[in-house]
C-alpha cells in the first residue's frame, strides 16, 4: 500500500471527527508554542544575566599576587632542618604588584591565535571627597577601545561618551551610585584622595551603570595614564592583564600555560565564577522539564482521542480487514492519523511560539540596572523550535502507537458477528 493512500484513508477518518482532531491539534500547538516561547525567554534571560557578569569578566587574568616567599630563610640551610625554627614568619619586603615585561607579554599574547583580545587594567584605591566626608572607592584605569572590544564597556555608559576618557586628560567616568551620592553632573569637577594622600581634581565625562548597584557605588573609570598618575607610578606600570579567548572552555588550560610561560599568576574565569554556570543550567533544565511535560500532556490528549476514535470506528476497521487490509495496514492508518495531528499541531505551535516570542520581545522591561536593555530579552534560537517539533512528533507517534496497536488486533469476526 502506498503511503499516500494510507494518509488518504487517515484523512477521511480525521475529517469525520474534525472537532476532536482540532482539539488534539490545538493541544499540541499550545504545548509547542509554550515550549518554544518559554525556552526562548528563559535563554534570553540567561544570556542577559550571565552577560552581566561573564561578559565583563576576563577569561584569564594575569597579575602578580602578593604572598609570602615559598621558603623561610632558615629553611634554606639544611643544617637546621631538624631544629625548631624560632623565626618562621618573615614577611615579604618591597613586593610589587607590578607586572614585569608587559611589552613582551602583550606581543606574545597578540600573536596567540586562541586569544580574542587583551586589555590592560590598573586599579587604585581612592576616597571620593564629598564635602568633608570621604567615600571609599576604586578607580580603574583602562584602555577604552580594548575595554569596549572585550567587555562592551561602552554599553554601560550613560550620559556620556566613553572615548572622552582618552581625549581629555584627567577625566573620569563615575559609577552611577557614586555620582548620585556626590550629586555630580556631567562636566563637574570632583576631588579624589589617593591612598598616598594626594588630592586630584577630575572632570566627570559620563556615568557607568553596571547593573550591580553595590559595584556602582564604588567603582569609577579613568584612562590608564590618569590611573598611573593617581598611583604615582611611571607610564609602564601595569598590575592586571585581562585576556579574552575565542573559546571560553580553554581558559583553565591556557591559564596554566601562561602562568608558567610568563612566571606570573593567572586566574581563569571558571575558577573565579564557578556559581554562574550552575544557575543558568538549572534554569534551562527547569524550562525544558516544563516544556516536555506540556508536550507529554498533549500526547495523552492524542492518546485519548485516538482510543475513542478506534472505539467508534470498530466497524470501519472490521470492514477494512474483511476486504483485505492487514493489521499492519490498520496500524499505519492510525499512526498516520496521530502523526498528522502531531505534525500540524507542531507546525502551528512553532509559528504561534514565534508570535509569543515576538510579543514578549516587545514588552517593555525597564530595569535601572540595565541601561542598554529596553524590552524583555528573547532567544530566537532555531534549536528550540527543532527540539519542540521533533519532540512533538515523537510524543504523538507514541501516543498513536498504543491505540493503533489495539486497532490492528481488532478481530473482524467478532465485530461482524456482533451486528
Amino acid at each position: 500500500m502506498k503511503i499516500k493512500h494510507i494518509f488518504e484513508i487517515a484523512k477521511a477518518l480525521l475529517l469525520a471527527r474534525s472537532k476532536q482532531t482540532l482539539v488534539a491539534a490545538i493541544g499540541v500547538a499550545f504545548s509547542v508554542a509554550f515550549f518554544v516561547s518559554l525556552l526562548g525567554f528563559m535563554e534570553g534571560l540567561n544570556t542577559l544575566l550571565d552577560g552581566l557578569v561573564l561578559n565583563r569578566t576576563p577569561h584569564i587574568r594575569l597579575y602578580n599576587d602578593i604572598r609570602p616567599s615559598d621558603y623561610q630563610p632558615v629553611e634554606l640551610d639544611s643544617t637546621y632542618k631538624n631544629f625548631h625554627h624560632l623565626i618562621h614568619s618573615i614577611k615579604p619586603a618591597n613586593a610589587r604588584k607590578e607586572i614585569y615585561n608587559v611589552e613582551t607579554i602583550f606581543k606574545r599574547l597578540e600573536k596567540d591565535s586562541r586569544v580574542f583580545g587583551v586589555a590592560p587594567k590598573l586599579s587604585a584605591q581612592v576616597f571620593y571627597n564629598l564635602g568633608n566626608i570621604q567615600l571609599n572607592g576604586v578607580v580603574n584605569g583602562i584602555e577604552v577601545k580594548q575595554e569596549s572590544k572585550l567587555f562592551q564597556f561602552e554599553d554601560y555608559i550613560v550620559g556620556g561618551n566613553a572615548l572622552d576618557l582618552d581625549y581629555r586628560s584627567n577625566s573620569i567616568i563615575l559609577g552611577q551610585g557614586v555620582a548620585d551620592k556626590m550629586l555630580a553632573k556631567k562636566g563637574d569637577m570632583i576631588q579624589v584622595t589617593t591612598a598616598k594622600g594626594e588630592q586630584f581634581s577630575l572632570k566627570v565625562v559620563g556615568f557607568f551603570q553596571s547593573g550591580m548597584a553595590e559595584l556602582d557605588k564604588i567603582q569609577s573609570y579613568v584612562s590608564l595614564t590618569t590611573c598611573q598618575k593617581l598611583l604615582g607610578e611611571s607610564s609602564t606600570y601595569m598590575s592586571d592583564i585581562q585576556i579574552k579567548l575565542y573559546d571560553i572552555d580553554k581558559a583553565p588550560e591556557l591559564a596554566k600555560e601562561y602562568a608558567t610561560l610568563f612566571k606570573i599568576d593567572a586566574e581563569d574565569i571558571q575558577t573565579a565564577n564557578a556559581q554562574f554556570e550552575t544557575g543558568s543550567s538549572a534554569r534551562t533544565i527547569i524550562s525544558f522539564a516544563v516544556g516536555i511535560v506540556l508536550l507529554i500532556v498533549a500526547g495523552f490528549g492524542i492518546y485519548n482521542i485516538l482510543n475513542m476514535m478506534i472505539y467508534e470506528k470498530m466497524d470501519t476497521i472490521a470492514i477494512l480487514k474483511a476486504t483485505g487490509f492487514s493489521g499492519s495496514d490498520v496500524k499505519k492508518i492510525f499512526i498516520a492519523i496521530s502523526l498528522s495531528i502531531g505534525l500540524s499541531g507542531a507546525i502551528i505551535g512553532a509559528l504561534l511560539g514565534l508570535v509569543f516570542s515576538i510579543i514578549i520581545d516587545h514588552i517593555p522591561f525597564d530595569s535601572a540596572a540595565l541601561p542598554s536593555i529596553e524590552t524583555y530579552p528573547v532567544d530566537y534560537g532555531i534549536q528550540y523550535y527543532t527540539i519542540a517539533v521533533i519532540f512533538a512528533i515523537v510524543t504523538t507517534y507514541f501516543a498513536g502507537w498504543f491505540p493503533s496497536r489495539k486497532a490492528s488486533v481488532v478481530d473482524p469476526v467478532e465485530i461482524i458477528r456482533g451486528k
Partner: protein
C-alpha cells in the same frame, strides 16, 4: 464449464469454549468448483456464518484443512491471509457495512487501493464500470450513508468484485431486502456466474433464493446433511 477447484474444505471442526465446549462445526468436507453458484441453508444457529468466517480466512481457530485456489491456508501469517482475502475473496454481509466516511465510489475502490495493482485512474474507471453494471452509477459521488439499503447492498457487491476475486462469499445478502431488491441481487449474482464465470457461495434463509442456485448445501447442527 471447467472443473477447476476453487475452494476445498477437508474435515473442518470448530468449537467454542464459552464457558463449556460447544461443537459448532463437525467434520465438514466439501468442494466448490470454479463457476459454481452454491447456496448454504439451514436453521438459525446451525453454524453457517461460523463456516463462512472460516472460509473467508478471517477466523483461523479451527481444525481441518482449508484450500483456496489449491493453497493451504493453515500456517499463513495474518498479513498473508489479508492478501488472500484482498485478491481472491469478495465478501458481502447482511448488514451492508460500507465505510460512511467515504463516497460510494471510494468504498468500491478501497480493496483495489490495498491491492495497489492498478493506477488510481484505472481503478476509478473499473469501479465506475461495476457500478454501471449494477445500475447504480448515478450514486458514485454520494457519501455511503446517503444511499438506501438495497443500493448499499449493490455497492457492497461492487466492492467485493473490484479485485476480480476467485470466489464471492455472501452472508445473507438479501436478509434485509424486500422481494424486489432480492430479485435484483439474485439476478446480479446469476449474471456474474453465467457471463463472468464467477464462483459464488451464498448463505441464505430464503429457500426460494436457494432453489434457484445451481447447488444447495443444507446444514443442520454443524453438519452437512445434503
Amino acid at each position: 464449464m471447467n472443473k477447476e477447484i476453487a475452494l476445498e474444505v477437508k474435515s473442518i471442526n470448530k468449537s467454542f469454549y464459552d464457558p463449556v465446549k460447544i461443537d459448532v462445526l463437525k467434520d465438514l468436507s466439501f468442494t466448490i468448483n470454479r463457476g459454481e453458484f452454491v447456496s448454504v441453508t439451514g436453521k438459525s444457529g446451525c453454524g453457517k456464518s461460523t463456516l463462512l468466517y472460516i472460509l473467508s480466512t478471517m477466523d483461523t481457530e479451527y481444525n481441518g484443512e482449508l484450500w483456496i485456489d489449491n493453497e493451504l491456508m493453515a500456517g499463513k501469517t495474518e498479513s498473508q491471509l489479508a492478501l488472500v482475502r484482498n485478491e481472491k475473496i469478495g465478501f458481502v454481509f447482511q448488514f451492508h457495512y460500507l465505510l460512511n466516511e467515504f463516497s460510494v465510489l471510494k468504498n468500491v475502490m478501497l480493496p483495489g487501493i490495498k491491492a495497489n495493482k492498478l493506477t488510481e485512474q484505472e481503478l476509478e474507471h473499473n469501479a465506475y464500470e461495476l457500478l454501471k453494471k449494477l445500475g447504480i452509477e448515478r450514486l458514485a459521488k454520494k457519501m455511503a450513508h446517503q444511499v438506501s439499503g438495497g443500493e448499499k447492498q449493490r455497492v457492497a457487491i461492487a466492492r467485493a468484485m473490484i479485485n476480480d476475486p476467485l470466489i464471492l462469499m455472501c452472508d445473507e445478502p438479501t436478509g434485509n431486502l424486500d422481494s424486489k431488491n432480492t430479485d435484483i441481487v439474485f439476478n446480479i449474482f446469476n449474471d456474474l456466474v453465467n457471463t463472468n464465470n464467477k464462483t459464488l457461495l451464498v448463505v441464505t434463509h430464503d429457500q426460494n433464493f436457494a432453489d434457484k442456485t445451481q447447488r444447495n448445501i443444507v446444514m443442520e447442527d454443524g453438519r452437512i446433511i445434503s
